[in-house]
């Protein structure tokens, strides 16, 4: 029996693969490159399998929320539905509209998909076992370990915006162009609270490496970083363009937004990009706020997926219970609520942590006391912010705003509802 470092099936498989390649007599440097290719392939396949699973899961959940059954004919519980959909998408005709910029039109679905996949490169699925595996350092349970992991996620997350802009601009369709305008405005705006919440995470964790952030969580960071977690989750939903922030592709206003002219497999790739990105947001939330892979009894990667699917369930729940925002509401919510709240949150965290440090309560010394005190500070700030929001909303409802669309010579008829009241 070989001693397996980390006692993990994937590390064992990687060691075994390395040993086989060594026994053929390959150069160790070459083996590293081959292993990187294998990792990339596995990571991509994993993301695509998760994509297939969550398309099925989402339809099952929306069906239950809307009191229906959902897909139930293809395979047991409709589990083969994603495969049927894939076959359907592949055999559909792929149309290109008149006057489209064909190169960009064809490239943008791939850019959208790859941009979403790239986030997975730094997400750790388990601890780095350390030590030697077949003559090389045992790899991390992630695509790669980067010292600037969080910053990388921020940077890569913004690339999907370029895909949307490419699609909207090259389609030669006004709806598509309007959709991509909205997408740029929305995604750019929600980037600001996201950067601010990442600054708060980095400040508390003291590192940007995803693996080290998980190891730094002596208490789950959802407690000391409660508002940060909420802000990051909301801006993550906005960035992946899901409901209630899906006015980029609002069917009732601009038909389908930026992917209106796409059909067949290219349309599916945009769909894939959205879902893969959404699940990546859940994976980052799991890693940074929910202790990542850590958990008792079960192997780390199973814990990771249990938590990620839990977060994804909340995302679906939000998606199917909230109506879509209007663009002015969306912008006001971001700039007048999320940005000030996350700025204040950063101040509260910095001051609170410094005060606690001078008293002698630190993350390392007494994690739960430290976490709960900061959690209380978070709750105070959250309720103050919600109170201010409710107050300003009440005030703005009382102000009679002029109706812009109506001209002066047309007197509005008295509404029968208002008269009866």
């Amino acid at each position: 029996m070989i001693q397996i470092p980390g006692n993990d099936i994937f590390i064992a498989l990687a060691t075994w693969t390395r040993e086989i390649m060594l026994s053929i007599g390959l150069d160790p440097a070459f083996i590293e490159i081959v292993m990187a290719f294998i990792r990339a392939l596995l990571l991509g396949t994993m993301a695509l399998l998760v994509f297939m699973l969550i398309t099925w899961l989402e339809r099952k959940v929306v069906a239950r929320i809307q009191d229906r059954i959902g897909p139930n004919l293809a395979g047991p519980w409709g589990l083969l539905q994603p495969i049927a959909d894939g076959i359907k998408a592949i055999t559909k005709e792929d149309t290109t509209p008149n006057g489209a910029d064909v190169t960009i039109f064809n490239a943008s679905p791939i850019v959208a998909g790859v941009a979403a996949l790239l986030v997975y490169a730094v997400i750790p699925f388990g601890p780095n076992p350390g030590g030697e595996c077949a003559g090389a350092p045992c790899g991390p349970m992630a695509g790669t370990e980067m010292s600037i992991g969080l910053f990388y996620i921020l940077a890569v997350g913004a690339v999907s915006l370029i895909a949307v802009l490419m699609a909207g601009w090259s389609s030669n369709n006004k709806y598509a162009l309007l959709g991509s305008f909205r997408a740029v405005a929305e995604l750019l705006s929600y980037e600001v609270p996201q950067v601010l919440s990442i600054a708060a995470m980095v400040m508390i964790a003291g590192t940007m490496s995803m693996t080290q952030i998980v190891e730094a969580q002596t208490v789950p960071f959802i407690f000391p970083l409660f508002i940060t977690a909420l802000v990051f989750f909301i801006s993550g939903i906005a960035e992946s363009g899901r409901s209630p922030f899906d006015l980029v592709e609002a069917e009732s206003e601009i038909v389908a937004g930026y992917h209106i002219e796409y059909s067949g497999m290219k349309f599916s790739l945009f769909f894939l990009g959205e879902f893969v990105h959404a699940f990546a947001v859940c994976a980052v939330v799991t890693t940074v706020f929910l202790n990542g892979w850590q958990g008792p009894v079960l192997p780390p990667w199973i814990w990771f997926f249990i938590k990620s699917f839990g977060v994804f369930f909340i995302m679906m729940w939000i998606k199917f219970t909230m109506p879509r925002f209007r663009i002015d509401q969306l912008m006001a919510f971001n700039w007048k609520f999320l940005v000030p709240v996350s700025l204040l949150n950063l101040l509260v965290l910095a001051v609170g942590d410094t005060v606690l440090k001078t008293v002698g309560i630190t993350r390392e010394a007494s994690p739960w006391v430290w976490g709960m005190i900061l959690f209380a500070a978070n709750l105070v700030l959250l309720f103050a912010a919600l109170w201010a929001l409710g107050r300003s909303a009440r005030k703005s409802r009382l102000i009679k705003r002029p109706i812009v669309a109506r001209t002066d010579d047309v007197k509005p008829a008295p509404s029968p509802v208002a008269a009866s009241n």
Partner: protein, 118 residues
């Protein structure tokens, strides 16, 4: 293995993985374009005029706001990374001043009506 080298490999592998269904689709799917089918889709209307229409100035204002705020908040990240090693209280005060400048900028933009969707 360098982190960025892996990202490069992952870009290539990802693009190949996603191209497979596109190539399959190109081989299997029917392709019968006709003038009406490849018209720009506008819910049955014929498209009118140039597609690349002028856009609302408000988008531009938000882009400016984003440029200002995102670049300023990026400056917070090195500070946040070094936060654990601070021995004195001075860096904290500097950061508070910096964030208050940001809050001031936001308040100014709010007051000037740059945040209203017109």
């Amino acid at each position: 293995m360098d982190g960025w080298a892996f990202v490069g490999i992952f870009v290539v592998v990802g693009a190949v993985l996603l191209s497979v269904p596109l190539i399959l689709s190109a081989l299997l799917a029917p392709r019968k374009p006709n003038p009406i089918k490849s018209e720009t889709y506008e819910c049955g209307m014929e498209t009118y005029g140039d597609t690349r229409v002028q856009f609302k100035a408000q988008y531009y204002v938000y882009a400016l706001m984003f440029a200002i705020f995102d670049i300023e908040t990026i400056f917070l990240l090195p500070w946040a990374l070094a936060y654990k090693d601070f021995a004195t209280i001075f860096p904290l005060i500097e950061m508070i001043v910096f964030v208050l400048i940001l809050v001031g900028g936001l308040a100014y933009a709010w007051r000037k009506g740059a945040l209203e969707w017109l």
